[in-house]
């Protein structure tokens, strides 16, 4: 059997690693690594430092680019990693899945509102690029699971997008 990296959890959240992740997800999902995958953060020293400092105790945390994430996924030296992957937006999530990373569900925590976006739920705002990426993910059969923390009841983002007439 060929072993590969076992990606336990993929989450979209504009704020990446923060309270909801450290106090909840990091405790309920058994991972040995938190990977923050974002080209923007990887080149922003200050944000990188802040995010790493917010890491929960006992779990190593790294900030890497999307390209490196994909490279590592296919490199057998990293097969033993059981990571949780955090990305800022659905576009990066799509790039990761396109790069070959296998996952059957994407968790969406929050996507911050800005002038290009409209609110879909109380915490999630999307723009056309986000919608296209979500559509692509949905077409791959990947579940779009909306939960802030693990004990929230799961909502399907696809349903909300449909109700809003966005897809």
């Amino acid at each position: 059997m060929v072993m590969t990296m076992d990606v336990r959890f993929l989450r979209i959240d504009s704020r990446l690693l923060h309270g909801q992740v450290t106090t909840n997800w990091a405790k309920v999902i058994k991972v040995n690594r938190i990977l923050i995958v974002s080209d923007r953060v990887a080149s922003d020293r200050t944000r990188k430092t802040l995010i790493i400092q917010a890491a929960p105790p006992g779990i190593k945390t790294n900030v890497i680019t999307v390209e490196k994430m994909i490279r590592m996924y296919h490199d057998p030296r990293f097969d033993l990693l059981k990571p949780m992957i955090l990305v800022e937006d659905p576009v990066d999530a799509r790039r990761i899945v396109e790069g070959g990373i296998t996952i059957d569900s994407v968790n969406i925590g929050a996507i911050s509102f800005d002038t290009t976006r409209v609110m879909v739920t109380d915490a999630i705002a999307v723009n056309p690029a986000d919608v296209a990426a979500f559509k692509w993910l949905h077409d791959q059969g990947i579940k779009l699971d909306v939960r802030k923390v693990s004990n929230d009841s799961s909502k399907n983002l696809w349903k909300s997008l449909s109700e809003k007439g966005l897809v």
């Binding site: 490279r71 923390v149 929230d152």
Partner: protein, 950 residues
């Protein structure tokens, strides 16, 4: 003061016995009176019998204690040592009264109390005398710098001044029970019957025992956080509870003195440190002046002279070797080295009734090395030489050499053991040489086993994981034999490098792999080193005798090369670095980070509190420049432009070439340390290159421009770390495995570890550089490449992790942003506001940030734990999220079971109170589920800082 008084006072202080005697010119220099005038006064005093002089040249003068008591009493009588000794020294009632009348100051007899320890002594006195109960004190200093000794002096001072009511100096070393916090706490605080299994009766703790006296807690950084909390509760209230009790019902009045070798900022709870108003920093041995070093040596020798009741005679080069042999262990190491050579001298001079002689050629190799260590520091050697006479004689002197209780004191009389043993062997008919050999082995053993429990034995734990214990033992045996029989000096690295070498060789033989061939290169190289070749032959024989199989001749050559490379490299020539910055610890914290990362020794810091005058700063910086200069000039890195004008003044003052760069950052210090790590780098080149580096981080445009440039020119070569061992096969491969693992752990996939053999190292490196960009090096020797290097010992003792982090940082051109904003509240607030704007929709960042900042401060104050600025940002963001969820009616939900659990938490009421701030200002009441997440976030952070502290 008249000239006569000046002379008398000086002699009273520094020349109290024959062996302390001073010459006319020393005296003239010290008190600033012309030599002929000093000479006149001295002759007068000798005639009066107040001062005695030695026979022979140069003449030394010292105080004659038998005369002039009355007059002495009238002049501020100085040092008598401990109060008790006044009686020993001066049995008349008159003397005793005199001693009491003039309050005895035990600190005065402490070497350096007027010089390098002046401030420290004043701090200590202030701490003890501060009404009504004194101030808690923390003594910081490196291993062996005299923390216990200093605490003892404080105790005696307190006793003399009747500050403490009870005799008793209770010592507790927190490291002794560090693996068992419960046991540690029960020792300190006591316990009640039934508190734990085996607690059959109530027991009082050390705190109770020390009631009315002084309690000294050594290595306090090993006290677990809950212990620190209990201690600081005790500091605040004077009450405590025993283990198993719920109420704090016991009361004790204890003077607390703590000591640690660690930086209290990172090793102790900040709430704990805040309760200690007095922090006394003891200097390194090497920071002390030549005169003090010599005084310390004399005092320690006097101690031994008292033990053996004989004079100790030693020549100038023995003194220098002893002083130079102090590498990392400070006065403690000096003490143990002196014990070792005195034991040896005692053995060699058994037949001599009144005197033992310490001869240079009989010193153990590691102490002989001291002479060359010292020789590489010309300035220090010069200072010392001025104070030294060709021959020094130390006489027993009960007043000075009284041992204090410290961990460097042997628990038995070594000299008696030596005497008995030698007598026994003589009866057995052994000749003197054999006796000496046996006994010396014994002495080494005694001292070693003693210091192993103590502090001076470096651990070689990491080695045991990759090399069989048997091989380590064999290597140690080889090391001993080389030192004792061949008189071949071997250093600390030897055990590492040699045992790894032997290990890989044995593995190779066992696995039946073909033997290594010898190249012509190797043979010709080795023949330049006949001594090492001969020693390698010996080592080969030893290995053969141990394993009972023949060792091929090729191994001899490889081992010879290994031995050559293990000889220490000369210490001269590196460009020095001095970092000077405003603030209490800005400069030293930058230097600390860099010297930890790179383990370099050519860097010094100078902190300038804001109120410091430029004149004082200039003098202080000049002193650091002098200290760090190795003959190649000094690079001065400063934080502000005004300091950059110091260059010329410094050159004038020190005659050392100085170049200054301003706007110092940690990254720049790192870069400077890297660039100067090479012996052949010169000041001008380093300066030029660094100025460019400086421009790099100054403005954003420049950074971007530079980044583009870098990318354009960017190295297409793959990155590599080189690992060097004697053959490039055995050890280096293991290092490669080790590093590969760490690299993968750091998710670094673009650095290759390449093994290199010592024999053709330079050629190989040139070749590697054609295809690779070498970013770091490790192994048995340091190659001449301008990259960070980590020694084998460091790597095996867990330094690999740090090493890789460093490579990562340099690779990223890391600027330590984190540090800069940890120091700036303004920056943190700005950043929070910026992020609030970016991530939240409904709240107004400009208005909310101050409220949430106040919220953080409130939590910080009430929970008595310092929140880092990074965490404050996290908390502010989280709180903003809470507020938005409240506003959008989408608050978090948590089940009742967890809610009821959180209500028991210590932080719960604090968060509830803090939420009042939100209620008052914004009229918002957060639900308990939201409170749950805030408490969880704070708990997670606390857990994290606790694990980091341990």
């Amino acid at each position: 003061m008249t000239r006569r008084e000046k002379v008398l006072t000086y002699l009273e202080t520094y020349a109290r016995s024959m062996d302390q005697g001073v010459t006319t010119s020393e005296l003239s220099e010290a008190i600033g009176v012309l030599r002929p005038n000093v000479s006149k006064v001295l002759n007068q005093l000798v005639r009066e019998g107040r001062v005695k002089k030695t026979n022979g040249r140069p003449v030394h003068y010292f105080v004659n204690h038998a005369a002039g008591k009355d007059e002495m009493k009238m002049q501020q009588k100085p040092n008598i040592g401990f109060a008790g000794y006044a009686r020993i020294r001066d049995p008349s009632t008159k003397g005793e009264v005199a001693a009491k009348k003039h309050e005895v100051d035990v600190f005065k007899s402490m070497i350096g109390s007027r010089d390098s320890l002046k401030n420290q002594v004043e701090q200590a006195k202030a701490a003890l005398l501060y009404p009504p109960h004194g101030l808690n004190t923390l003594i910081i200093g490196p291993t062996g710098s005299g923390k216990t000794y200093f605490a003892h002096k404080m105790y005696h001072f307190a006793l003399d001044r009747k500050i403490i009511s009870k005799k008793g100096f209770t010592t507790f070393n927190c490291a002794d029970y560090a693996h068992n916090p419960q046991l540690l706490m029960s020792h300190l605080f006591g316990y009640v019957k039934g508190a734990f299994t085996g607690a059959n009766a109530d027991k009082a703790g050390l705190i109770q025992e020390a009631d009315g006296g002084m309690l000294f807690l050594d290595e306090v950084h090993r006290l677990p956080p809950e212990g620190q909390e209990m201690i600081f509760y005790f500091m605040d209230h004077g009450t405590y509870s025993r283990l198993g009790e719920t109420a704090k019902v016991h009361h004790a009045d204890v003077r607390l003195v703590y000591a640690t070798t660690e930086d209290p900022k990172s090793s102790l709870l900040q709430t704990f440190v805040r309760r200690i108003p007095i922090i006394i920093q003891l200097p390194d041995f090497n920071q002390r002046s030549a005169r003090e070093k010599l005084q310390l040596l004399e005092q320690l020798l006097t101690l031994e002279a008292n033990r053996i009741h004989k004079n100790i005679r030693l020549s100038e080069d023995v003194v220098q070797a002893l002083l130079g042999s102090v590498t990392y262990g400070n006065v403690g190491q000096l003490k143990s080295n002196i014990q070792l050579v005195c034991a040896q001298g005692f053995l060699n001079s058994m037949h001599h009734k009144h005197e033992i002689t310490l001869l240079f050629n009989q010193l153990p190799p590691n102490i002989k090395d001291g002479l060359s260590n010292l020789a590489s520091d010309r300035r220090e050697l010069g200072n010392l030489s001025r104070l030294l006479e060709p021959m020094m004689v130390i006489k027993p002197d009960a007043q000075r050499g009284t041992p204090d209780i410290d961990s460097y004191e042997l628990p038995y009389n070594l000299y008696e053991i030596i005497g008995d043993k030698a007598a026994l062997l003589k009866e057995d008919g052994l000749d003197q040489a054999a006796i000496n050999h046996f006994v010396m082995t014994d002495i080494n053993l005694h001292l070693k086993s003693f210091y192993r429990q103590g502090k001076l034995d470096k651990t070689i734990d990491g080695l045991g994981e990759i090399v069989d214990q048997e091989i380590i033992e064999l290597t140690k045996q080889i090391q001993r034999l080389l030192q004792e029989r061949e008189n071949y000096p071997v250093r600390d690295q030897f055990i590492y490098a040699m045992s790894l070498h032997i290990s890989s060789f044995i593995k190779r033989i066992q696995s039946g792999k073909p033997l290594r061939t010898i190249s012509a290169d190797l043979i010709s190289m080795v023949h330049d080193y006949p001594v090492e070749l001969k020693i390698a032959e010996r080592v080969k024989d030893l290995i053969r005798d141990h394993y009972h199989f023949p060792i091929p001749e090729s191994e001899v050559y490889y081992m010879a090369i290994l031995l050559v490379s293990l000889k220490s490299e000369p210490k001269t020539g590196k460009v020095g670095i001095v970092v000077a910055a405003h603030g209490d610890s800005t400069a030293s914290s930058m230097v600390r980070v860099v010297s930890q990362l790179l383990s370099v020794d050519n860097i010094a810091a100078y902190d300038m509190p804001l109120e410091m005058s430029p004149k004082v700063a200039l003098a202080g910086i000049a002193a650091q420049v002098k200290r760090i200069d190795q003959g190649s000039g000094v690079l001065l890195l400063v934080d502000m432009g005004s300091l950059s004008t110091f260059s010329n003044k410094l050159i004038e003052k020190t005659t050392i070439h100085v170049r200054t760069i301003d706007m110092v950052t940690t990254a720049m210090v790192l870069e400077a340390a890297r660039k100067t790590a090479l012996i052949d780098s010169d000041l001008e080149t380093v300066y030029r290159e660094l100025r460019e580096f400086n421009g790099y981080s100054r403005t954003i445009e420049k950074v971007q421009q530079k980044k583009k440039d870098v990318q354009k020119r960017s190295d297409q070569r793959e990155k590599a770390i080189i690992a060097i061992c004697s053959t490039g096969e055995g050890t280096a491969k293991r290092i490669k495995d080790l590093l590969d693992k760490i690299l993968v752990d750091h998710l670094i996939d673009d650095i290759t570890v390449i093994t290199v053999s010592l024999v053709t190292m330079n050629e190989q490196i040139v070749k590697i550089q054609q295809d690779y960009q070498i970013v770091a090096a490790t192994g048995v020797v340091k190659p001449q490449v301008a990259v960070p290097f980590v020694s084998l010992e460091d790597l095996l003792q867990g330094g690999g992790e740090r090493f890789v982090s460093l490579i990562e940082e340099i690779d990223n051109h890391a600027v330590y942003e984190a540090e800069t904003f940890e120091h700036s509240e303004l920056l943190t607030k700005e950043m929070s506001q910026n992020y609030l704007g970016r991530y939240f929709t409904f709240i107004n960042p400009g208005k909310i940030v101050n409220i949430l900042w106040g919220y953080c401060d409130f939590i910080q104050q009430r929970s008595q734990s310092k929140l880092s600025n990074a965490f404050k940002i996290s908390l502010i963001m989280h709180m903003a999220g809470s507020l938005e969820r409240y506003l959008t009616r989408s608050e978090m939900r948590v089940d009742e079971q967890r809610l009821s659990r959180i209500r028991m938490e210590k932080l719960y009421p604090i968060v509830k109170q803090a939420n009042e701030i939100l209620h008052e200002t914004l009229n918002i009441n957060l639900s308990d589920a939201e409170v749950f997440y805030i408490v969880e976030l704070l708990n997670t952070e606390k857990e994290k800082s606790d694990t980091q502290n341990n």
